[in-house]
Symmetry: C2
Subunit: 339 residues, 2 copies
Amino acid sequence: MAVTIRDVARASGVHVSTVSRTFSAPHLVNAETRNRVLAVAEGLGYRPNRAARALTTGRTHNLGLIVADIANPFFPPLIKAAQAQARERDYHVFVADTDEDPVLEQELIEMLCKQVDGVLLCSPRLSNRVIERLRAQVPFVVVNRRVKGLATVLMDVGQGVRAAVGHLAGLGHRRVALLSGPAGSWTSEEMHAAATAAAAEFGVELMLQGPNEPNEQGGLAAASAVAGSGVSGVLCYNDLVALGLIEGLRERGLDVPGDVSVIGVDDSLPARLNRPKLTTITMPTAAAGRMAVDLLLAAVNAGDSETPALARLETNLVVRESTGAVDRVAGAAQPSLRG
Amino acid sequence: MAVTIRDVARASGVHVSTVSRTFSAPHLVNAETRNRVLAVAEGLGYRPNRAARALTTGRTHNLGLIVADIANPFFPPLIKAAQAQARERDYHVFVADTDEDPVLEQELIEMLCKQVDGVLLCSPRLSNRVIERLRAQVPFVVVNRRVKGLATVLMDVGQGVRAAVGHLAGLGHRRVALLSGPAGSWTSEEMHAAATAAAAEFGVELMLQGPNEPNEQGGLAAASAVAGSGVSGVLCYNDLVALGLIEGLRERGLDVPGDVSVIGVDDSLPARLNRPKLTTITMPTAAAGRMAVDLLLAAVNAGDSETPALARLETNLVVRESTGAVDRVAGAAQPSLRG
DNA sequence: ATGAAAGCGCTAACAG
DNA sequence: CTGTTAGCGCTTTCAT
């Protein structure tokens, strides 16, 4: 076993409680003694055992972060930001990947909740019912989902969607499709509502296509439906869907943005690397990660009797190369000569 | 505070040790009693406190996983595989991102090491000296790095590199560049050694260019050097570098694979999504994640007096669209007519 | 300012 | 098979 508080106490000729205070309440101990203890501890390589501390204080100083899929490029920036923010508050973040599986998600939460002071749920696939039951065990903060009574961080994708539809309308598109995401995705529902409203506002016809898997496969699979629908512009649930769609369209001889304009959501790494560079809606994932940590820490330190906080973060459209003007009368998608 | 073992004991009319055994050594307790205890525990919503258990057993049943950058698409598949494998062994994996910062890496390890039974170091940026000091505190397994005396999982990138150079040679390339990775990267050194050997074997001239940042910026920054060097084929440290290079080459009017053939390493998500699809060396990241967990668990349960294990995993070249035959005499890169 | 003692939730001998 | 007892490393009254 490693060096404990007792070893330090013995080696520096004080009682364990003094050593303890040196680390957890330094102002309560004589400067001289403190320095001696610190020096001895340093020399022995002593590090407080946080698990043991947690046992008495009831605070682990750990946070859990549950995501559906680390490999989805939407999440890493959020994770990084959350870890960085937590570190500044002397907290540590444990990340768990649920593989998009609600059962696994619940198991992980139950497993985690005894080792953390609070849990960050990002775009959870769990039912609200389960979440509400689980919250008795540990404070939650939810990102991109509405659960009544829980502190929440929302990315206001509606703003970006409105801008996207306006952008397409301005380029002359009259028929536009929305490729929705997984059933039960709050973001997807928000996109739907905002797209419907914006379509009416800008006088374009909106077709809904979905649900789709939230990855390239989903976009690829939707390509034939899009190709046959006569739309000239498509707004996708996320960047991966958009990239998959572009790929599928190409296989059918359709060019982007020549024949079809495609817009993604997230502004993820692949969106910036791909060719054509994706026009997309930026999601403030880093800000959301930081904010979620702050909200969670507030909930942890205040008890949950507060009015649950709600943070809404802005989104924006960033225009790149996957959208362009309609160069045909009806805007109907047809194989282009260069395709 | 949550429901403890004592509450369960009281409610089911047995002693705490019986409840304890029900969970940690079920075979030692009468089936009838066990079922009763289990039922009561279930009813009360009891979950064993793993931190408290860790205090007596000395086993947290947690593993730490340190990566340089979660946002680098190389890591997520490894992380997912490690978490899945650990779960099967009733272990939990805590992921920490060091932001490519050795100082932060060390801090995180020291912070983590009291809450985990072992640590997985993936492509660490830490000096061997520091690693060797830290290993006294907690068992390590290292991925893609050689540290004497430590259990190791290596991805044998040399195989893939040889295949890549052979592939380029077969396409008629005579002058080839290697864009190396960060200084101190084991993988980068392996690539260099293997590329040098393969270049001699296949009779091509090899130019070394680096070190480069392990991301698209690194590739982008190297583009002008590559464009001016007269090479017709480039092997890059990883897919992101390759994609950045392709982008930079394009900005200079050079087509891939028309003017220059580019090969990446990792076979990451962006490599498959991008256009042209990247010819790349597959890295067995998932297998490495699983293997590393098994090695680490073995080290944890055996004490470190064993001969440290060494696993070498195969890599392969997957040919896609970013490589092609040389269509000019000297193979010198020059603006193409279609560029 | 420091020491003494109790206890956090759990496991691990040791008895019985 | 089950109860008793001690103690993991640390914090936290309460004394002194």
